[in-house]
Amino acid sequence: MFMPIRLALALTFILTTPWAVLAEVQDESALDIQVREIAKTLRCTVCQTENIWESGAPLAQQMRGVVRDRLKMGHSPEDIKEYFLSRYGDYIMMQPPAHGVNWLLWAGPFILLLGGGLLLYKEVIGWVRRTPTPSTTPPTPLDEQARQRLERELES
């Protein structure tokens, strides 16, 4: 084997422990911030519902390393997300991509809110219409009475 390759190998051996990936950081640069932004969108696959930025698992550290290396090589954040998607599937993203059946998840709550709101509105309007005006006044609770009395006193 050629000398340079051996040398390169020896160097890579030194760089194998996980901290090595992080040790190169001195202070946060634009790169670090980019790494963080991407890392926060990716799930640590061996942890449960934790992103690779927050996780302390070795795999998460290595994934952060991959993100950093690829950014350095000039890959765009989109490319990097694509890469992880192609390796791990949708599971790797911290949120389901908004396509296909997933629209049910994304739009579901708002559909419920709008649909429920409309139904409730119609129902309430119906109740109001059916209520004879002025309605029979039931006894007002005590604290309310006190308040009304006070208000009357004040106005008089």
Binding site: V25, Q26, Q95, P96, V124, P134, S135, L142
Partner: protein, 649 residues
């Protein structure tokens, strides 16, 4: 020997729960009060026997009896004494025992407290409580007993999960369970109302304090869980939308809807079926939460055993309770004619309905997000993650809507509000919101959520202030006293209302804390050697030393960081990277310095053999408002519960 006594007591308690159900049934059938009395005796004895069971387990933990399998799995001879007691609920089996023990305490209290005033309800209450106790005791006795022996006896225990060796974790599970279980009392009264057909306001008035108490416990439990996650998990956040967290949040959301909606029934005698529905959903969600956490259907950071058999049993049990409850509701409601009287869309009644809608949609959102991966997988759609980004995008708008309604509901009159009313009550709050947004925009805040959140908070806050100051003034004028005495008079005269307002203020404070500490969080990860400095925000942190420290059952590398603001030394922070001896589990212990109501939060997740430390600094502005808001909420609830009884109650 001691543990066998505990085991035996638990088995007897199981038998007694059957007896309790039978006496309840007989009491209803024969109308003979003696049967109810023997049911009461059964409930009381169950409490005593389960107490013995708990004590036996606590004792085994204290003497570190590793011949007990559960103790061997969750303790160790070096585990500090403080945690040996909390280790009782550090695992699956013990948590279940704690759950059912708390249930027996509440049942006994409820039976004795309401014995005289609610004689007709008692058989139902005893029956329902005994049925729930029976279900959980079967699970404990037959499928997950903490009283099993282990042979051969190990010399050493496996140790309690290091993440659980934390003061917040001592209190978190009991509080949470008190919340879940507390809702079983209004649930039982609701079931009594359904079975007996006495659907008046009686059961709601009787259980109002129970509901409030359960709600307070659940809130405290959730907040404690957040607090624990904040400084123990070491990533500087307190809420991760993890399935286990969600499982406790869902009953909270529906329980809160219930808490508000019963007010309408109390005052206007409407929405009877709706309130029954809400309390059944609340308690069902408590049970489903237990199922989700205990069966391993969902994975999460906190996930416990995956055991289909156990899961199947819990599912059958939970399904039976929920099925009976909803079945009774459906059958009864078919006979009930709805008698809703509403004078106007613009009234407190109708705002409460919309409040309920928002709470239910919020709960449904959490439910959908939690179960979506399971749904998708069941239909062969692959595996996905539903994480915080989803909830931040979808849940937040709903939460803002709720906060806005919070500023309207309490200040709009019952029955009908005139335009004049609305103008008087809400023009100033609306203006306050606008001024707040303008001020923040001037100071350079551009984040949409932050602006929308501040608008809503200012609006709702101002509405509270306006209402209270108006009423206080009235009282001050009437009594010709000063305004402070007026405030006090107003508060004591309407303690229920203004205690609730105090809770609302707590919510607003909490929300400000959440907005500030999530949107304006600054974080930085830097590798440092001794002598290096990192700067974060206005602060500089200088690593002056890394040394080894040792605790009772752990060893750690501790970094000493001097924190400077300009040239002033503020404090020394000492984050640790711990390894617990027994399990060799690493944990990162955060170091926190409070400043300006916020935190400087520092962890040291990694130290290389060459002495290069990875330091992670987080600035969490106004984080103390999150916890402070929680405390104010709790204070409000306590004042609510301790209010003097009024004649109409």
């Amino acid at each position: 020997m001691i543990i066998e006594i505990g085991h035996f007591s638990t088995i007897i308690a199981l038998v007694l729960s059957v007896f309790g159900m039978a006496s309840a049934a007989l009491a209803l059938k024969t109308r003979n009060p003696d049967w109810a009395r023997s049911g009461r005796m059964a409930v009381t004895l169950i409490f005593v026997l389960l107490g013995i069971g708990m004590l036996a387990l606590v004792y085994s933990f204290i003497v570190r009896d590793f011949s007990v399998l559960y103790v061997a799995n969750n303790s160790n001879s070096n585990l500090p004494f403080f945690y040996t007691v909390s280790a009782v609920w550090g695992g699956h089996e013990g948590s279940l025992l704690l759950w059912v023990f708390i249930l027996s305490v509440f049942s006994t209290l409820a039976v004795w407290l309401h014995w005289r005033t609610q004689p007709t309800i008692m058989p139902y209450l005893i029956g329902v409580e005994c049925a729930i106790i029976f279900g959980f005791l079967c699970l404990i006795v037959f499928l997950s007993s903490p009283f099993e022996r282990l042979l051969p006896i190990p010399l050493e225990g496996k140790d309690l999960n290091p993440l659980l060796q934390d003061p917040a974790m001592v209190m978190h599970p009991p509080m949470l369970y008190m919340g879940y279980v507390g809702f079983s009392i209004p649930f039982s009264f609701a079931m009594a109302a359904l079975f007996s057909g006495r659907l008046g306001e009686e059961w709601i008035k009787v259980t109002q304090r129970w509901t409030t108490f359960a709600w307070m416990c659940l809130t405290t439990g959730i907040l404690l869980g957040g607090y624990w996650a904040y400084y123990e998990l070491g990533w500087g956040g307190y809420w991760g939308w993890d399935p286990v967290e969600n499982a406790s949040f869902m009953p909270w959301l529906v329980g809160t809807a219930y808490l508000h909606s019963v007010l309408v029934q109390e005052k206007r005698k409407m929405f009877k079926v709706w309130n029954l529905f809400l309390i059944i959903v609340t308690f069902s969600l408590s049970l489903i939460g237990t199922f989700l956490v205990r069966s391993g259907v969902l994975t999460s950071v906190h996930s416990f055993a995956t055991d289909p058999e156990r899961g199947l049993y819990i599912l059958i049990f939970v399904g039976t309770i929920i099925g009976i409850a909803f079945g009774a509701l459906i059958l009864r409601s078919a006979k009930l004619k709805s008698q809703v009287e509403l004078d106007s869309l613009i009234s407190r009644e109708s705002i409460f309905l919309f409040n309920n809608l928002f709470f239910l949609v919020a709960a449904a959102t959490v439910f959908l997000g939690t179960l979506y991966p399971l749904i998708l997988e069941t239909f062969g759609g692959g595996k996905v993650t539903v994480g915080p980004p989803y909830y931040n995008a979808v849940f937040m708008p709903i939460a803002l809507g709720l906060l806005f309604l919070m500023g309207i509901g309490p200040y709009i009159p019952w029955r009908k509000a005139s335009v004049e009313n609305l103008r008087k009550s809400f023009s100033i709050p609306l203006l306050a919101g606008a001024i707040m947004v303008a001020l923040l925009a001037i100071t350079g805040i551009r984040n949409l959520y932050a602006l929308a959140g501040s608008y809503v908070v200012a609006f709702s806050g101002m509405a509270i202030v306006m209402d209270f100051s108006k009423v206080s003034q009235l009282y001050a004028q009437r009594n010709s006293s000063n305004i402070f005495k007026g405030c006090l008079a107003a508060f004591t005269a309407n303690q229920r209302r203004y205690a609730a307002m105090l809770t609302h203020i707590g919510v607003l404070v909490l929300v400000i804390g959440i907005i500030a500490s999530t949107i304006y969080q600054t974080e930085k990860v830097v590798s440092m050697k001794v002598g290096d400095e990192m700067s974060i925000g206005d602060y500089r942190m200088k690593l002056t030393n890394i040394h080894d420290v040792e605790g009772g059952n752990w060893k750690a590398e501790e970094g000493v960081f001097q924190v400077y603001e300009d040239e002033t030394l503020l404090t020394e922070l000492r984050p640790q990277k711990r390894i617990y001896n027994a399990t060799q589990t690493p944990t990162t212990e955060s170091a926190i310095y409070s400043i300006n109501m916020g935190h400087i939060f520092l962890t040291m997740p990694e130290v290389s053999p060459e002495g290069v430390a990875v330091a992670r600094g987080v600035l969490n502005p106004l984080i103390l408002w999150v916890w402070g808001g929680g405390i104010i909420m709790g204070l409000g609830v306590i004042l609510n519960i301790l209010r003097p009884r009024k004649r109409e109650e």
